[in-house]
Symmetry: C2
Subunit: 248 residues, 2 copies
């Protein structure tokens, strides 16, 4: 069989990063969606900027700094207890509803996560969601001190699992991550969670838009980076069938 391991991105792929919306809304009524979207957009920007500046800090620091930025930017008063309660959700993010079932059906392959998350954050998240019983490895890019989509980050899959990139299916819903993995030489399945039709419908009005629509426009459509994932699926539940069908 050609696919010996299936390796997943964590944030946005197995775990729903939008599941912080309830806690941000409770903390700052009326601002939940704005905080959720600006925070996530800045969090990833900071991983890229710190990587390029060669000023690596781990993802827990970046997640705090991007939340801090977001609250300042919106003029919201900060409170240490509220801040920590929002941050804590990152250790208890919701799994996508089809995640557990899909992983269970893939148990004849090596299963792993490769994530920007710090080792501490990832281990807590995986344990809290029960994925520790299904995964063979949870790989943090932390040991490389550079974030995805640097090739150094994707190299950790072979270094950890001892499986060649061409025998690995990397799964991500993040377009830039799918492109980075493809550039590195992994086989890639991209999860298109927002179809082009749904994207267009998200902009019912053009002058006033929802923060979520802006997030979707920036971070859910396939990027134009000169690369194309090998496979496109619409959810994790498509994965067992896809993997079974991939022949050498």
């Amino acid at each position: 069989m050609t696919i010996q391991a299936v390796v997943f991105d964590a944030y946005g792929t197995l775990y729903d990063i939008q599941s912080v919306a309830a806690i941000t809304e409770r903390a700052y009524p009326g601002y939940g969606e704005l905080i959720t979207q600006i925070w996530r957009i800045k969090q990833l920007e900071y991983t890229w900027l710190r990587s390029l500046m060669r000023r690596y800090e781990d993802f827990s620091v970046i997640t705090r700094e991007s939340l801090d930025y977001t609250l300042d930017c919106l003029g919201l008063k900060q409170d240490a207890e509220i801040f920590d309660s929002i941050m804590d959700k990152y250790l208890h993010l919701d799994l996508y509803p089809d995640a557990l079932q899909a992983l269970s059906e893939l148990k004849d392959r090596k299963l792993a996560i490769l994530s920007n998350g710090s080792t501490g954050m990832l281990n807590a998240l995986v344990r809290n969601s029960g994925l520790d019983r299904l995964l063979d490895a949870t790989i943090s890019i932390d040991s490389k001190s550079i974030f995805k989509p640097s090739p150094d980050a994707y190299a950790l899959i072979e270094e950890t699992l001892r499986i060649a990139p061409t025998d690995v299916l990397f799964v991500s819903s993040n377009p830039w991550d799918a492109c980075g993995a493809k550039a590195f030489g992994l086989k890639v399945a991209w999860i298109e969670r927002v179809t082009p039709d749904a994207m267009v419908r998200a902009f019912e009005r053009r002058d006033l838009v929802t923060p979520l629509a802006m997030f979707k426009a920036i971070r859910t459509q396939m990027d134009q980076l000169g690369l194309k994932p090998d496979h496109q699926i619409s959810g994790l539940s498509d994965l067992p069938g896809l993997v079974a069908g991939i022949r050498p």
Copy 2:
């Protein structure tokens, strides 16, 4: 005198990137602001992603690909002539109104641009705006095949002008660029074009927001990257006074 050269970022600092809004609106009535903001956000994302992926393409390619992405994302029909007319504006961006006067008053120092733009784009832009008469050098990061905020990009200032980083004042309105220059060791003046008060006022409503407000929230407030520019000014017109006042 301690400041021997004043080096400017181009896009967003000397040149108003929002000045593409008229042509995008004319091309796609009702969509001008959305196109303008998504395009600029993706354009910079692509510089960072391609740099990290080690898949450099010059800024003219990235500017085309990010515009292409933006139109696709909004479900807008493409037309080669319209596309080229929008792209052409990048060679004719408006100078900020105080740019020419500020540069004229700084003529006792070396004056240069260090920009992500490709050599061809920058030379055309500088000539079309008349800045070629005031600048000693227009430096593109193109020869390094990596974009700002990589230290390799900022190293071009000393390599070109033969002036040490500590004797250079780098001027940018882009927070990530100001941080990148500071991390490299340049003296930095950051132009705060959107005050915190104006930022808060931009979000009059929280459920439905303008695309411009989202852009401002993401790209105009000082980033939290563990770095602080040496100086903060509110416009280019503050610069001659600032430079005159900087003592060893």
